[in-house]
Amino acid sequence: MKTRITALLLGTALAICAASGAWAEDKVAKIGVLTDLSGLYADLGGEGSIVAAEMAVEDSGMKAKGWKIDVVSADHQNKPDIATSIARRWIDTDKVDVFVDVLNSGVALAVNNVVKEKNSIMLNSGAGSSELTNTQCTPNTIHTTYDTYMLAHSTGSAMVKAGGDSWFFITADYAFGHALENDTTAVVKAAGGKVLGSVNVPINTPDFSSYLLQAQASKAKVIGLANAGGDTTNSIKQAAEFGIVKGGQKLAGLLLFLTDVHSLGLKVAQGLSLSETFYWDMNDQTRAFSKRFGERMKNHAMPTMIQAGVYASLLHYFKALDALGGNPHDGAKVVAKMKEMPTDDPLFGKGSIRIDGRGIHPAYLFEVKTPAESKGEWDLYKLIGTTPGDQAFRPLSESKCPLVKH
């Protein structure tokens, strides 16, 4: 009789435990680096984002506190359908807790839905579309580093102020390109400028001469390049060839990364204005991180802002996990904690994460150095302006994010 009662009690206890999920909280976390490992954006995120994630795990000191943290990675090939099926598999069978990098706006918007549906987490530092924290915002996504709103306001308004009041856009024909064109058009018009035309170009185009000739014929003062990666470098290189800058028109590389400028070479890229939120040569901390990062990269590249964003957002994620005392494996709960805590990391400085998921930190306007000014292979930028964090991104008063209460 006694044993039967004991067995019954034990069984009930087990059932209660299982039902309440008392065992779900543990000290295990799995990070998924979902990025372009083989295509035209692979230098922007890619291998470097995996290195950045591993460095964040090592530097966080979580291991010493008894945590077990794994990093996995996959190549989404810039295809939203491939990305969503990897995302579902990662969440359902591989128990990945958090997605980082996720560059390419088309991919990011698709993964955004999966992450929300499955109550997972996306810490996006790679995609450009500002919709991730606007109409498409979710309680599960944090968007750091940059977005099209920031680029348009920083680079766009600097160009208009310098007298570039008529624009022609060469736009990558997908979510990111259109978002960047729209955001920049708004800035140009608000400043009293006008847009004379635009052309939508399929991504991965090797030859831009047709589009550059159309831009040239428009007589616009500024040719806005609303594209990224290899498309941007090819447009800039070919614009030089067709004498566009010599003819008096200015190029606005609305999204240019350090690796793009490095790959173009200073002879072609000198004098271009661009906006980034991270540059390796800002202060001692960024230099120290970048040196360690470069040593682990096969081509010894310095980190891009996307890779820096992976590192910084993961450090903040680990702080939130630590504060929670264990991993609840509940995406919205961890993200809420991350929004509650101010951010502070060696790469982006002090900042915060807003209710709409937007990571807030300063944005910088750089000018590409001339070959004479540069002292080394990666000595490429000089700082010409800083926009404080609270002005760099779309103000909450203009937000269409359902999480923001007006």
């Binding site: 230098d43 939508n200 047709s210 014929a217 490095h262």
Partner: protein, 287 residues
């Protein structure tokens, strides 16, 4: 109207790359019966060899125009000797799979070491600048590309269709045993032909290095279009692929002007239409 002339000329420039690449493919397919999917990767290698020559050995553009095709051509001949030879007589599919796999490996290796954003290569000093043609500003380098590739295409056509060497080659494809009986070393000839096709791809790579970034994926972006060009022109037809290459460049250029969103699909739409009407291609003979 002026804009239209400009687009036609730009189309012709792109067409010259299509022509050079599809010519190499046509030579290889016509003579060896191999659908060479590694063509794009070999084109990329041509551009990289030019880059290495300049940056490691300080050898400029002009010698690279000769040295890079020879170097990559030799690499191609080694591939033919060690790998492709084993597939003689098998279904096309095997050659396609092997060369496609080779392309992925070559591109992967380059991407591993040089990243995806590429390396700079500038236009040689002699060809810098441009001319104002009234309707457009023509960079001298682009003009050079059109003229030079046209000359190379015609020379290749002459070599294969009008010389004794070419006649031997064509005979060897028709009936290798008989040609061997005449004392011609057929295997060596096939190796050299593959080398020639590959060399043409590498030459196109060197030509494009100053225009595009030298990137590991530069060939992968182009090769699919080039295959469509070869299919439209007729597999194995030398003149067909030259003419179609230039013509499609022009058609693509016009699309870029009138409806740019379709510029990367127009070639495939044309391919479908041609296949529906004339399955052997515009100049191909029905088998």
């Amino acid at each position: 109207m002026q804009a239209l002339y400009a687009q036609l000329l730009v189309g012709l420039i792109n067409g010259s790359f299509y022509a050079l690449l599809s010519l190499g493919l046509a030579v290889i397919f016509g003579m060896l019966n191999i659908i060479n999917f590694a063509h794009g990767a070999l084109y990329m290698m041509g551009a990289f060899v030019a880059y290495f020559l300049l940056n490691l050995a300080n050898i400029g553009y002009w010698p690279a125009l000769i040295l890079a095709p020879i170097a990559v051509g030799i690499f191609g001949m080694i591939l033919e000797r060690t790998l492709l030879r084993w597939l003689t007589g098998l279904d096309h599919l095997y050659g396609l799979l092997l060369t496609f796999g080779l392309a992925l490996i070559i591109q992967g290796v380059f991407q591993n070491y040089f990243g995806s954003s590429g390396l700079p290569y500038s236009i040689p000093d002699e060809l810098k600048g441009g001319m104002n043609l009234g309707f457009m500003f023509l960079p001298i380098y682009r003009g050079w590309v059109v003229v030079f590739s046209l000359v190379v295409c015609l020379l290749t056509w002459y070599l294969i269709e009008r010389t004794r060497l070419g006649a031997n080659l064509r005979a060897a494809t028709e009936n290798p045993t008989l040609v061997r009986a005449f004392g011609v070393n057929v295997p060596r000839m096939i190796t050299l032909t593959y080398g020639l096709g590959v060399g043409l791809a590498a030459l196109a790579g060197v030509l494009s290095a100053p225009i595009n970034q030298v990137r590991p994926l530069m060939g992968a972006d182009l090769i699919i279009v080039v295959f469509a060009v070869v299919v439209i022109g007729g597999m194995g037809s030398i003149m067909g692929s030259i003419i179609t290459g230039f013509a499609l460049g022009v058609i693509e250029g016009l699309t870029k002007y009138f409806y740019p969103e379709a510029s990367n699909t127009v070639v495939f739409v044309l391919m479908v239409l041609v296949l529906l009407v004339k399955p052997s291609g515009l100049t191909g003979r029905a088998s």
